[in-house]
Amino acid sequence: MTDHQDVRPGSTTAAPVVVELANVTKAFGAVQAVRGVTLRVEPGQVYGLLGPNGAGKTTLMRILLGLVRSDAGTVRVLGEPPGDPRTLRRIGALIESPAFVPHLSGRVNLQVLARARGLPDAEVDRVLRVVDLEGAADRRVTGYSLGMRQRLGVAGALLGEPSLLILDEPTNGLDPEGTAAMRSLIRDMAAHATVLLSSHLLGEIQQVCDRVVVLDKGEVVAEDSVSELLSRAGERTVVLEAQPADLTEKVLKANDAWSGATRDDSSWRLELDGAGVPALVRALVEAGVEVHEVRRERRSLEEVFFALTGDHHPVRSGT
């Protein structure tokens, strides 16, 4: 399902686009929540939104649902402007923490949503089974745990088997078992629907998503397939292990291309493209250095994320 083709708006492609944003901007008063965001989600993709607090992820999701109007730019969801009533029936959404009428049961809350979509109560029973919440369906939502509310929210998003699922932090509050089940559910859902999800768990995005957009301060700082993003971000970092350290240091300092290397005991990290590695090894060997290992460092998505956003703190759910 991973997509490596150029899918920027304006490019020619035969596949119908599920979500298309071009230069979308949104400000709340003096706060610029989204700045010129352009992205495109193809059918069947599991598309991840990553970004620190206030990056604009939830605002983008609200824009797609027509809950928030963009100030500028073009938005198309399933080929229609956001908020189109017929289109909304084909979208399932869970935005931020799931909200329900607290003193009503989970089942009644879902029935209210189902009736608004013109769906029978049997559909409510189906989605309750999918999220494994049948046993608690007739209890008041006010007595639900955070994880149960989250599953109820996902159940609401699944009503009517939508073509597009928009899930904002779907694993929030779930225990490890629930998180794994949700991950599996998202993958299952991707067989019938396109999934757009944000998560503060970078590992989850890495495991679940085909493609990812990294947002920071409302701007897109990277947009690619997860594998490409990891590969691109990690390809220049080389780890060198060599002895003796002082001689190695001397060789590295002698060349401007290597002088930025950082040392950690008997290993060094330096930025180097593919062609530069043989030259480095040759210079070290000619100087009498014992080269024990030269390897490319593969960064995790978390490291890539921090590198892209310049953030040094764990990512949390955002605006």
Partner: protein
């Protein structure tokens, strides 16, 4: 619209608010429309106040139960229905459920209209229940006082019921708009009740001594409600009737004012929900 209405009807049926508001209103109608006047009647001297007693008893018998019930609406009924209106829209902000409500398919206008329409259905049920409770109470009074059970004409009962619903829907619509304007329940209730029970009464009272304020009174919801009830033949407070009832304007003008408030409340709620970002 059908889907939106089905959803809102289910929500309204399952919520506690209509039961609490409706139950409270029925108790108030019985207590202040019949209970308190009956106590006054029972404490009046049968010899020196015989005429007053007879007039008071007439209002408590089945033949006048429908108008006595309607006479409760202009002041306290309005306030109660305003509370119901606020509870139709306001809690969605507290619960954070507007995003879910507005992303299921029905448009924003449809959702707001469905909410108020579902509220209007509740208002009809409450008005019928209050009328039924009034009838039962009046039968009890008649039996206790040994009076004959004379029933009002069906048309007169229907007219009273219609007036009660008409007044209630106008207040409900105003309350729904306040819930949206103030994005919640607390402030909307505070402002609504201060306006209804305080400022409207003050302005209406002042208009009696300051003629310049009469045009202002002519566009207030409370006086319009009181005038419409007066048009049914319900006596004003000075005539031994209910608080808030009075011929401040003609029946048709009162109807126009009530219609204007209903339309304005709906329009304000709809326009705000349509224009605002739902966050």
């Amino acid at each position: 619209m059908r889907n939106a209405l089905a959803a809102e009807a289910l929500l309204m049926r399952k919520r506690l608010a209509p039961l609490v508001v409706g139950g409270t209103w029925i108790v108030l109608v019985v207590a202040f429309g019949f209970g308190v006047p009956y106590i006054v009647y029972a404490t009046l001297d049968p010899v020196t106040k015989a005429a007053d007693r007879a007039a008071l008893l007439d209002l408590l018998l089945p033949s006048a139960a429908h108008t006595t019930a309607a006479g409760s609406y202009p002041l306290f009924g309005g306030a109660i229905m305003l509370i119901l209106g606020v509870l139709v829209t306001g809690p969605e902000y507290r619960w954070g459920t507007w995003p879910a409500r507005l992303s299921q398919g029905p448009g924003r206008t449809q959702v707001v209209l469905a909410k108020v329409l579902a509220g209007a259905v509740v208002v009809v049920v409450i008005a019928v229940a209050a009328l039924a409770a009034s009838m039962v109470t009046s039968v009890v009074v008649a039996l206790v006082e040994g009076q004959p059970l004379t029933w009002p004409a069906a048309g007169a009962v229907a007219a009273s019921l219609g007036v009660a619903v008409f007044i209630s829907v106008a207040w409900l619509s105003l309350g729904a708009a306040l819930g949206v304007i103030f994005r919640g329940v607390g402030t909307a209730l505070g402002v609504g009740l201060v306006w209804t029970l305080g400022l409207e009464n003050a302005l209406s009272g002042l208009a009696g001594v300051v003629p310049a304020l009469e045009p202002v009174r002519a566009v207030l919801l409370g006086p319009a409600s009181g005038s419409l009830v007066a048009a049914l033949g319900v006596p004003s407070l000075s005539e031994g009737g209910a608080v808030g009832v009075g011929e401040y304007m003609s029946g048709p003008v009162a109807c126009a004012v009530l219609l204007a408030y209903t339309a304005a409340g709906l329009a304000v709620a709809t326009v705000l929900i349509r224009r605002r970002d739902i966050t």
